[in-house]
Symmetry: C2
Subunit: 410 residues, 2 copies
């Protein structure tokens, strides 16, 4: 990984990308930004992954159409309303958002992606967006301030700004990949209420960008679970504008491998930020299942543990209740032998082995408490001798999750 | 349903059944009962359904063996320890529990069922059980006091005693069915940390009892979800001792239909009690999905809604957030058309339609709040014109769920 350098700037780290955000009034006062734009000054190739929910919001359906061309170069996104379950007028509003940006920059509507996040079923006040379209275009900045303004404008219950950027060297040319992500509740493998926009100045063929994105999403966002709810509005969108002027990255070559690794690392970093910022989360939980014959089985086992409300509340309470871990393995729906299962809890305070061969190990409750009081907890499960290992990320379940989702229509 | 009469007595309502419970010391002080016994004075036919968790506790495996004979007439059950993940000594302990009861009553070990509930991975103090086996046998009572003592002895985080009994008339003979159930957390379709013991004085052939039990479980316990966790220890066990001296009920005859209906009604009543008593629950939620071509699809949709943490917290907060209901339908993994979906929330305060044709209906937030502040909430979803309808039961997700499961190793 020494070839992947972390840099500043988020989605503005890559050459030729600008971002910005304004308040247009979808969110009532206080005047928090609610409309974001990311724009590439040059044409792009693009790739995207969308929610698997059968109920898809209008902006998702419109953007899926536009993405077929593989040439998205601008994204307009709003918070304060999901524009889902809003019928024909919802579709018209989503299309209008794209056309507003197309007009501002004299580009094609089909080169603009549209995203929305917020409450389902509330009509989008498209007039408010129309009024501020020019102000939005004028808000674009090429530095981290642009990234931050756009990011603010797509946040809902998110408490932290989640973005990052990396740089790699492709045949002597610096190539940058930046990303921002929004999402803290309603998150589950397969893209739930999550918007992630990725920008890169790489010269890369579209199939290579597409393959790298799908691979990165598979091992990052699709292995994150906050509450098991998969939303109507998710998308991960990547745009590459070629401004790094590197030799073109093509499927399967050495640079493709490097680019893919960098994109994976960036996405995993964002996923860790998201898990930390899970609604009401006090702890990041990383569940690793090892010794499984194949990744699918390992992933099913790890997700079952990460998704268990009983495991999540135990970690919240710093309780080394490993029986709940084993129980969650048991209902994952994949075969394994209890007699070969071992479980350990770890954090930067150390590691406590609590179960071996499917049975209790003696351990100091005091040590376990020490380990589990940290804010980053690893649950390590070894199932047998297989070669595959998979990590899934999640968070604990706290009083605040209930508060956030019970007291407030989010 | 006028042919099904509710009666008192729980598992002691049926002739020839006695029950009792003692404190043997598995649970530390205060001296709360932790060992239960149900016993039929006559031989029985029996039927049972068990957890689908791949990790099965020792008592489950032992009882599955014994149940193959279809002649269980006694159940010994403890709380305070699940006897799961306890290795060979766990199996020995479970077998010993059965043999203790067999010795007390001079019956076969294979006619005794064994059940345990509590923390996973802790060895069972079998010595404590041995010491109190005679006291347990002596504690048997033929009236509701026996039912209540046995029930107390299998409760863990349960706050309410959950039992019931019904009477039907079979060719002029009164036939009674009684039941007790334990379980409030770690509950999910397919039998999670739930023990349910059913007694009946019916004369019924074993295949008929088995069929009636499977049918009743399918539409009751398997349609209950508290937190999505499926435990290692669940069982539903039915015993019929023939003391009602009715003409034998056989598969498919008229009396079988009546018996099945009565058993269904009893199980549904218990499920409603369980949902009300869900860990930290403040509200019972009944999700009904109508207009679906087949029951499987309806059940998948209804379970997805009842299981959604976001729906559960919204109901806790009395928030008519129907978008979360539609979103949960969307990730149920079965096809439907959003454009035909309607949603209403109801309680004894009335009904509020919130979504029609997949879009928002105008409604009074004040009325909706009034409806949702009640403690029994119905979420009614109509998906299309199909003939099938399914109801699934669950509860809201409250601060107390987190408290119960975060603060206490249960």
């Amino acid at each position: 990984m020494q070839n992947i350098k972390r840099i500043e700037g988020g989605v503005c780290a890559a050459k030729g990308f600008r971002a910005g955000g304004v308040w247009c009034g979808i969110k009532a006062s206080p005047r928090k930004r609610d409309l974001a734009l990311i724009y590439s000054e040059a044409a792009c190739v693009s790739a995207a992954v969308f929610t698997t929910n059968r109920v898809r919001a209008a902006p998702v359906i419109v953007t899926q159409e536009h993405c077929k061309g593989g040439k998205i170069r601008a994204v307009i996104a709003n918070s304060g309303g999901a524009n889902a379950c809003t019928g024909e007028s919802g579709f018209a509003a989503a299309r209008r958002m794209a056309s507003l940006i197309a007009d501002e920059f004299a580009i094609q509507e089909r080169n603009v992606a549209v995203a929305s996040t917020g409450v389902i079923g509330v009509p989008l006040p498209i007039g408010a967006i129309e009024s501020e379209a020019s102000a939005l275009a004028n808000s674009l900045r090429a530095d981290v301030s642009g990234n931050d303004a756009a990011l603010e404008a797509i946040m809902t219950t998110d408490k932290r700004k989640k973005s990052g950027a990396v740089e790699i060297d492709v045949c002597g040319r610096p190539v940058r990949i930046g990303a921002m992500v929004k999402g803290s509740g309603m998150i589950h493998p397969n893209m739930a209420t999550m918007l992630c926009f990725i920008t890169t100045d790489a010269v890369i063929e579209q199939p290579a960008l597409d393959a790298a994105l799908r691979d990165a999403v598979r091992v990052s966002f699709n292995r994150l679970t906050i509450d098991g709810d998969t939303s109507t509005n998710d998308m991960v969108l990547a745009m590459a504008n070629g401004r790094a002027e590197n030799p073109k990255i093509v499927l399967g070559d050495e640079n493709f491998v490097l680019f893919s690794e960098a994109l994976r690392a960036l996405c995993v970093e964002l996923v860790r930020q998201m898990a930390r910022d899970g609604e009401g989360a006090t702890k990041l939980i990383a569940v690793t299942v090892r010794g499984v014959p194949d990744e699918e089985t390992a992933e099913a086992l790890a997700k079952s543990v990460a998704l268990s409300n009983l495991v999540k509340t135990a970690i919240f309470g710093a309780d080394a209740n490993w029986g709940r871990v084993v129980c969650a393995l048991g209902y994952a729906g994949v075969p394994f032998e209890l007699e070969r299962v071992s479980v350990a809890f770890s954090s930067k305070k150390g590691s406590v082995s609590v179960c071996e061969n499917g049975q209790a190990l003696p351990f100091s409750e005091e040590n376990a408490k020490d380990v589990l009081l940290e804010d980053e907890i690893e649950i390590d499960v070894r199932v047998a001798d297989g070669a595959s290992a998979v990590t899934v990320w999640g968070c604990d379940l706290s009083y605040d999750y209930v508060k956030i989702n019970g007291d407030y229509r989010s």
